[in-house]
């Protein structure tokens, strides 16, 4: 049972003893939901520094089942929160698999929530979900309707059919769809169906992209009209040199493909593959910077710093400069390397938070756990003396202290917890300084993100972009949250999400 494995709630329900006492069942429910939200924000079922992929997904799967079995409506409502894509897909899948257990009203809300969430997800994830539904033999009316509506809402189904060919085929077959007609693709009726199921039957297609695909089989020039991932296969088939291929496919690259290919293209001197760093999302950009060698980072210091600052300013929006005096304790110990799956993810989150906090605060002091001061050159190294850094931070008398760390405080173990406890109980009982711990890593063994001290709220964080919301939420949750409040909060979120 999950209660015994986590001694306190994820968002720090505790402290305020004067609040009206709900029944313990309510508190348990509230804690469970918050626990689940933290897991759904941070865990992606991938390998982490301290736990394997198997442990992560086993632990996450248990939480999903537990919540689905006990609080189905709250489980569905978490689709409206900033949970990560992996968990959104899992929730959608679990809800669709267990349709029979829901009553009509629940089904209605769930259906809308799922449809809304799927519209926000990247298409490959949704196609993968459809594939899984087929594998699980889930083919109820609601599932088919959701698939039909999602496919109908795709801006260009012919493009999808080329780029995600087998996935679209699986979806069409599973939901009994006649694609050409519903999607309103121009040209002769059911051209899309022919393309998917019997592509060689036609001598020519009326839809340009389908025709380009047909011609690309024997004509090199045609492959540059196709999406990059498809064109890559044709280029290999025609033996096009990589540099030439990259140079000519450059206009068809998506934003993230550009970012991903930029370094290898530079090595091949295909200079038209240039990503606009300033337009990249903050955390993604931080990951990119950390993937560069230290020498490269020094060489491009001005450009990278400017791009990170621009992304941070954009993320901060109108809150920029509103936060007063902020000290951040950022973890760049060896464990922030993450794993081969999530390479340097925890460090990337810390770096992104660093730039975001610099944009938010009027007066900002970053303290890296290694003691380094040049944020652009951070790399995962050394132990985690969090306790000492927190002391350094508190000495500067900040209004807010933000700790970004995986919570493995080991030099010495538990010092951070002791410092925070004594600070709260003896030195700052009036909460003069708001302290928040943001943790990018899900701890599979504890079914939660690892906390530093019970008196300090800890929230899971996936993207630094969510920092503002998380910090506000965590401070609000320093008191005591009951299930009624939580339900109300979720209802508001759901309303905003669907409306």
């Amino acid at each position: 049972m999950i209660r015994s494995s986590c001694s306190h709630s994820p968002v720090g329900i505790r402290a305020n003893r004067e609040a009206p006492i709900e029944t313990s069942a309510d508190l348990v429910a509230a804690e469970d939901v918050l626990l689940f939200v933290n897991a759904a924000i941070t865990s992606t079922g991938q390998r982490e520094f301290h736990s394997s992929a198997g442990e992560q997904s086993l632990s996450l799967d248990f939480l999903h089942r537990y919540l689905l079995g006990n609080y189905r409506d709250l489980y569905a409502a978490t689709l409206s929160l900033d949970i990560n894509d992996h968990n959104a897909v899992l929730i959608a899948r679990n809800l669709l698999v267990t349709t029979a257990e829901a009553d009509p009203a629940q089904r209605h809300t769930e259906g809308r929530l799922i449809a809304r969430r799927l519209a926000l997800l990247p298409p490959p994830r949704v196609y993968r979900l459809f594939r899984e539904l087929r594998r699980a033999k889930v083919n109820n009316r609601r599932t088919r309707a959701i698939m039909r509506d999602w496919l109908a809402a795709r801006p260009d189904l012919a493009f999808d059919a080329v780029k995600y060919r087998s996935a679209v085929k699986v979806a069409a077959r599973h939901a009994h769809l006649t694609l050409g007609r519903e999607a309103g693709v121009g040209g002769p009726e059911r051209e899309l169906g022919t393309f998917l199921f019997a592509p060689n039957r036609r001598a020519a297609y009326a839809t340009p992209i389908l025709e380009a695909w047909r011609r690309a089989h024997y004509e090199q020039a045609a492959l540059y009209e196709l999406p990059y991932t498809v064109a890559e296969g044709f280029a290999a088939k025609h033996g096009v040199p990589r540099a030439v291929f990259l140079e000519r496919i450059a206009p068809r690259l998506t934003r993230l493909e550009r970012l991903r290919l930029q370094e290898s293209a530079r090595g091949l001197e295909a200079d038209s593959v240039r990503a606009d760093l300033r337009a990249m999302p903050l955390t993604r950009l931080a990951s990119y910077v950390l993937a560069l060698s230290l020498d490269d980072r020094v060489r491009q210091r001005a450009e990278l710093t400017e791009a990170l600052r621009a992304a941070a300013r954009r993320t901060a929006g109108e809150q920029a400069g509103q936060w007063g005096k902020v000290v951040a304790v950022l973890d760049d110990s060896f464990s922030s390397y993450g794993s081969g799956h999530k390479r340097r993810r925890p460090l990337a989150v810390a770096l992104a938070c660093h730039f975001l906090l610099a944009a938010l605060a009027r007066d900002y002091v970053p303290l890296w756990s290694s003691g380094r001061s040049d944020a652009l050159l951070v790399h995962p190294y050394g132990a985690t003396p969090l306790g000492e850094r927190i002391l350094d931070g508190l000495e500067r008398g900040p209004e807010r202290l933000v700790i970004v760390s995986d919570g493995w405080d080991n030099a010495p173990p538990g010092l951070a917890g002791e410092v925070l406890r004594i600070w709260r109980t003896r030195l700052d009982p009036g909460h003069g300084c708001g302290i928040v711990h943001l943790n990018p890593v899900y701890d599979a063994a504890d079914f939660d993100v690892r906390r530093l001290a019970p008196t300090v709220p800890t929230a899971g964080i996936r993207d630094a972009e969510d920092l503002v919301a998380l910090v506000e939420l965590a401070q609000f949750a320093e008191g005591r949250t009951g299930i009624a409040e939580l339900r109300a909060h979720l209802a508001r979120r759901v309303e905003g999400f669907l409306g």
């Binding site: 110990s333 306790g387 010495p412 538990g414 917890g417 030195l427």
Partner: protein, 381 residues
């Protein structure tokens, strides 16, 4: 006969993972003029440049595989060795290794790797025990001609010690770290010290290829996860941030003192017999043997110290209880010049009892068969 000291090193908070606890040792000042042999590094990893007056020495840990030979076949260094400037020095004492095709491919390209472990331990023991020096009539011809060899001791690779590989993987190497003490279920398994943090980083992961005694293997297998020694600060004494900081610092010192006294006591307070092997410049390579007292920790190992007694290199292996018993028996025999009646008198047992003990310890083949049979007959009576 002196104790072992960790001169120049201080212990830092332990990092525990499962049943394994690793205690990092940090050097305030790294030793620059004794480094891991350049040939053991990947080609592009340079060694620090020193001025012309300083003599540069290097060491090769026991059992390291590299292509020392001209024809590119891998060989393992035999015993830890000290050498002068790497470029001019001849190839180290080594034993060539024959691998199956698949293994040979894995060791090529000068990769650091400990040699097959039974070889390493056998090497240790062969270095320590030469067999009877006086040909008393009870000893068999083989024992007199060949000593104890071939001796085969069994040990476990680190990879089979449960939790060790994971513990080493998630261990966060400290800045300036030059050594580590490995505990399994809080029993000291091995100590490992190198002169320079760069060497430590290069060698950290080789601890998993290292060898560990049966005792450690069993402890790790059966142990529950060990708990962290968490910092605890009494709130009543804290009135300001400065107090808090002072308390935090004293926690650190208290841990180091506790660790060196209580946890590493078995290693540091032992009474060792040193045997100097080699001297090079200001460094001295020695091997040491424990007193072979039963029912307590016994470590054998090799170390390099400088003229001021500062520890530059250390590698230990903890003997299992059986090995200690055998070592005890051999030392007593050696102390009495391998004379059986004298040894029996010194141990307070009869000669036949001693003979059976020797046989039970696995040294039966050292005694002449008819002598052994006589002892057995006496015992039956």
């Amino acid at each position: 006969m002196t104790a072992l000291t960790l001169n120049g090193l201080s212990s830092r908070p332990a990092q525990a993972w499962g049943g394994v606890r690793l205690v990092p040792l940090v050097r305030d000042e790294p030793i620059e003029d004794l480094r891991l042999d350049a040939r053991l590094y990947e080609a592009d990893l340079g060694i620090v440049e020193l001025d012309a007056r300083t003599t540069y020495s290097s060491y090769i840990p026991h059992g390291f595989v590299a292509t020392w030979t001209g024809d590119g076949t891998p060989a393992a260094a035999y015993g830890t060795q000290l050498s002068g400037a790497a470029a001019r020095d001849p190839a180290p004492r080594r034993m060539s290794l024959r691998f199956h095709r698949r293994m040979a491919r894995r060791v090529d390209k000068n990769r650091l790797r400990f040699m097959p472990l039974h070889l390493a331990l056998e090497g240790y023991l062969a270095l320590h025990f030469g067999g009877p020096e006086i040909a008393w009539e009870e000893w068999s011809r083989r024992a007199i001609d060949h000593g104890l060899s071939p001796r085969v001791e069994e040990a476990y690779t680190g990879a089979t010690v449960r939790g060790l590989a994971d513990a080493l993987r998630v261990f966060e190497i400290l800045p300036g770290q030059c050594g580590v003490l490995v505990y399994a279920a809080d029993a000291l398994a091995a100590a490992f010290v190198v002169p320079h943090p760069g060497d430590y980083r290069a060698l950290h992961s080789t601890l998993v290829h290292d060898l560990y005694g049966e005792l450690i293997h069993h402890y790790a297998m059966l142990s529950m996860p060990v708990t962290d020694f968490r910092a605890r600060i009494a709130d009543t004494s804290v009135r300001s941030l400065a107090d808090l900081r002072a308390q935090a610092r004293s926690q650190q010192d208290a841990w180091a003192a506790f660790h060196d006294r209580a946890m590493a006591g078995g290693l540091l307070e032992g009474d060792y017999t040193y045997q100097q092997v080699h001297q090079m410049g200001r460094y001295r390579l020695s091997r040491f043997l424990p007193p072979f007292e039963r029912q307590r920790e016994n470590h054998i190992g090799e170390l390099i110290t400088d003229e001021a007694g500062r520890l530059a290199y250390l590698k230990t292996f903890r003997l299992s209880e059986n090995q200690v018993r055998r070592g005890h028996l051999l030392t007593r025999l050696a102390a009495c010049d391998w004379n059986l009646p004298d040894t029996a008198a010194a141990l307070g047992v009869t000669e036949s009892e001693l003979g059976l003990r020797i046989a039970a310890a696995g040294f039966g083949s050292l005694l002449r068969q008819d002598v052994l049979d006589r002892y057995r007959a006496q015992a039956r009576r």
